[in-house]
């Protein structure tokens, strides 16, 4: 059957384009500063939410048996980790952000390697707990060492995942 290859090219004028040029606008820096001021009003709520989200991941891990993650658990943990990345990134918790990203990456590596080991996730969650707002706040050198060790965990599981990916 012959497929239609009709192609229309339009240049529609959107209302947004008109509104942006109306008098009375603001400079980018002023708009951004106002937005940053606005999100700062949520800092406390969001910081508390980070702690609650870590608790949820801890709860999932506690329910796992023999150090193995049940089907569906990694997806659930991943969605919580994604939220931590958003909150930590937005409010400038750089190390927490780095650990949360590493957690997401290690989950991806575990999935690629076909592993359901809970331990690499648990070790990340312990680090998240330490670095969370209101946590014990380790010294910078300690934090760096912790991040470096987590990096090794990630590298290990990525290396395991690579041959799997090659076979696939």
């Amino acid at each position: 059957m012959k497929q239609s290859n009709t192609k229309k090219i339009l240049y529609p004028k959107t209302r947004l384009a008109e509104l942006l040029e109306q008098p009375g606008g603001v400079d980018r820096d002023a708009a951004v500063a106002e937005a940053v001021r606005a999100i700062e009003t949520m800092r406390e709520d969001c910081s508390e939410a980070i702690g609650r989200t870590i608790s949820r991941i801890e709860g999932i891990l506690e329910r796992q048996k023999a150090g193995k993650l049940a089907a569906g658990a990694t997806r659930e943990i991943l969605s919580h980790a994604d939220r931590i990345v958003t909150l930590a990134g937005t409010y400038g918790y750089a190390q927490l952000d780095a650990v949360a990203r590493s957690l997401c990456d290690v989950i991806a590596a575990l999935e690629s390697a076909g592993s359901n080991a809970a331990e690499p996730i648990a070790v990340h969650v312990k680090a998240l707990r330490l670095l969370a707002p209101g946590g014990t706040a380790p010294q910078p050198a300690e934090s760096e060492r912790m991040l470096s060790e987590l990096g090794k965990v990630l590298a290990h599981f990525r290396a395991l995942a690579r041959p799997q990916a090659c076979r696939a």
Binding site: N5, K8, R15, L16, L20, R28, A35, M42, D45
Partner: protein, 190 residues
């Protein structure tokens, strides 16, 4: 460098994201930019119902909604033939782990794709760019949405402090091949 001045005071926005905190953060940013009352929804079906009867100036959509993929919502908006809403700029937000969805988002008709967390600088730049770019709107049997091969250098490469700012900016220059676009225009049946 001159400041990029813009007026968003009378603009309306629809934000669809399943995460309560992300909705709150983005909504606060939008209010900071001057948008009075962004509409906040958590699911794709709700957004479809809302857009049956309403027009917004910008849509911001999460890539994975609880009841459908964000790309399904974008495709639905782009195929609303009787409504001006189909031309609305749509920014899709992906989670840290979902950035692989960028090509799917583009093929569904999203104007831009950004990776969470979204900074205020990045959001302002993307909204203003989406409004001001004179990007063609393409309708074919397989694709309805903004031209995926556009001449512009894309959204400003804002100096966001985050790695994700840089990731988000990749989307702008999907394939900045002006020559291809010119040839397409000549060939196309308008």
């Amino acid at each position: 460098m001159p400041q990029q001045r813009a007026n968003l005071n009378n603009a309306t926005a629809l934000l669809v994201d399943s995460d309560h905190f992300t909705r709150g953060i983005i909504a606060h940013m939008l209010r900071g930019f001057g948008l009075e009352a962004p509409v906040l929804l958590s699911a794709g079906k709700e957004a479809q119902e809302y857009l049956q009867h309403a027009y917004v100036d910008i849509c911001i959509v999460e890539s994975m909604l609880p009841d459908m993929m964000g790309t399904d919502l974008v495709s639905w908006i782009r195929r609303r033939e009787a409504s001006q809403i189909r031309y609305v700029p749509i920014i899709m937000m992906t989670g840290y782990t979902q950035f692989h969805l960028v090509s799917e988002a583009r093929d569904a008709g999203a104007s831009l794709v950004v990776k969470k967390p979204v900074s205020a600088q990045m959001l302002w730049d993307r909204i203003v760019w989406a409004g001001r770019s004179n990007r063609a709107f393409i309708e074919t049997a397989d694709y309805v949405g903004p031209d995926r091969r556009f001449r512009s250098a894309g959204p400003p490469n804002g100096k966001g402090r985050r790695e994700s700012d840089r990731a988000g900016s990749e989307e702008g220059a999907a394939r900045p091949s002006g020559q291809d676009e010119e040839q397409d225009r000549k060939k196309a049946a308008v």
